[in-house]
């Protein structure tokens, strides 16, 4: 198991301008594989991911990393719903995190080329990343997050608004990364995707984790009435 885990979250809450965005959240993240966060719009999926990753500062509570915060920050990565492309070439986008991690440009080029090929963007390596299509951007953002070999990867609806082919490619990269030991925590709106990928499910509603259970058990029979209604397709808030 990664030295980042088990991740203990105790009474964590994020409040902005008097409004609670997420929390209080108590959960333990351990084991391997993929945790999928599901819930209706505005439930707090993105806020939960950003809080765990440290982009959202805690207003209360604590997130305890077994290896310490600094080490934990170095060993995790985040993929945003709308991928942010650095105004550089595709290859330079892949080199960037390795340079941040302390590699020289010469050291960073081979793995960057390797990832370029893996995501099918070899021919576009010298093109500006901002000129890629939505699916290509998301693949590049995912490769950029994975290139430094993070122990823990957070993804915020990475396949929202992508076509089937791009979604399939993203899922394939994620499953390969998970098989190689990267712990993945990802939110999605797509129940089919959740069923395909999830090892465990976090169902959240109104900023709180209502269920945190194994995927099979969750999809076979959720414990809470809210989760049952959500799976049935009812509107809940």
């Amino acid at each position: 198991m990664s030295i980042l885990l088990p991740l203990e979250v105790r009474g964590a809450m994020v409040r902005r301008r008097g409004k609670v965005l997420i929390g209080p959240v108590d959960l333990t993240l351990a084991g391997a594989g993929l945790s999928i966060i599901i819930g209706p719009n505005g439930a707090g999926k993105t806020s939960l991911l950003k809080m765990l990753h440290g982009i959202q500062r805690l207003s209360r509570g604590e997130i305890a990393w077994p290896c310490g915060l600094e080490e934990a920050r170095r060993r995790q990565a985040f993929v945003f719903q709308t991928p942010v492309m650095l105004r550089r070439t595709v290859l330079e986008n892949l080199i960037y995190p390795l340079r941040i991690a302390g590699m020289t440009r010469a050291e960073a080029r081979p793995p960057a080329h390797d990832w370029c090929a893996r995501i099918g963007l070899e021919a576009a390596a010298a093109r500006p990343a901002t000129m890629l299509s939505g699916g290509e951007r998301q693949k590049l953002a995912l490769a950029r997050a994975l290139i430094a070999g993070p122990d823990l990867l957070f993804l915020d609806e990475p396949c929202a608004s992508l076509d089937g082919q791009a979604t399939r490619e993203i899922e394939s990269i994620l499953l390969t990364a998970a098989a190689k030991g990267t712990r993945i925590v990802m939110s999605t709106h797509d129940m089919g995707q959740a069923r395909r990928l999830a090892d465990e499910v976090l169902f959240i509603l109104n900023g709180q984790v209502h269920e945190h259970v194994g995927a099979e058990g969750f999809f076979a029979g959720p414990v809470t009435a809210e989760a049952r209604a959500f799976l049935k397709g009812d509107i809940i808030d």
């Binding site: 982009i55 985040f78 942010v84 650095l86 105004r87 550089r88 960037y96 941040i100 093109r127 500006p128």
Partner: protein, 234 residues
């Protein structure tokens, strides 16, 4: 012939004949302004990036002051630099009054707020776009500043060119600090002012056309040399 026509003719003759005095004045103009621009950019661009990424007390006041200083009257800057550099002034011992170095100092003071303000506006927008990504990548403040400066280089070039435009056309400050001394501190703008004062309007116009041509040429040259995108490739 009209004075404008005469001015064109005069400018044409001066340029075609590579008039030695014109060449000397034009080169001095370029030297003073490009040196001032280089120094100003080294100060202003990192300052703009720092203002974009770092939150500190009085940050807004600093930005507002910088914006206000864009309109700094060059004559007043010239006067202040003159006092600083004059024999009895705090920097009098350096002997920079009525030298190109003194003129450069005055231009740096005029250009820095302009370049910093324009650059800050561009970098602020870029920072808004990059903020979450660079935070999530666990970058240091130095790395964030370096990233903004590199990725925002096209916008920063525009900021620097605005500074060049302000410097090359500036007359008030360098007239006071430089003194418009022939073969020492005379530049195109002060030469134009002198010839106009003497009633030599055709020559003044000719110099004016040369100044405009020089400003446009330098802008085009810098754009061409530093263009980062060629046919969809970087």
């Amino acid at each position: 012939m009209s004075e404008i026509g005469e001015g064109f003719l005069h400018a044409f003759r001066l340029i075609i004949g590579l008039d030695p005095e014109l060449v000397e004045i034009a080169l001095r103009s370029l030297f003073v302004t490009l040196t001032a621009l280089l120094i100003a950019s080294v100060i202003a661009l990192p300052m703009a990036a720092l203002l974009a990424v770092r939150r500190f007390p009085f940050r807004r006041v600093t930005i507002a002051t910088l914006n206000a200083l864009m309109g700094l009257p060059p004559v007043v800057v010239g006067l202040l630099v003159y006092i600083l550099l004059s024999r009895g002034g705090p920097l009098g011992v350096l002997g920079l009054l009525f030298t190109p170095a003194g003129m450069i100092l005055a231009q740096v003071i005029i250009i820095v707020p302009l370049v910093a303000s324009i650059a800050h506006q561009s970098l602020r927008d870029l920072w808004a776009e990059y903020h979450d990504l660079l935070i999530s990548m666990n970058t240091t403040q130095g790395q964030r500043i370096a990233t903004l400066l590199w990725d925002g280089r096209q916008a920063l070039l525009t900021a620097s060119l605005a500074g060049f435009g302000r410097g090359i056309g500036e007359v008030g400050a360098i007239m006071i600090v430089g003194g418009n001394i022939d073969h020492v501190t005379r530049v195109l703008t002060t030469a134009i002012a002198l010839e106009t004062g003497k009633g030599n309007l055709a020559l003044a116009l000719g110099l004016g056309f040369v100044l405009i041509a020089l400003a446009i040429s330098v802008n085009l040259a810098i754009h061409w040399l530093s263009r980062t995108e060629r046919g969809g490739r970087w």
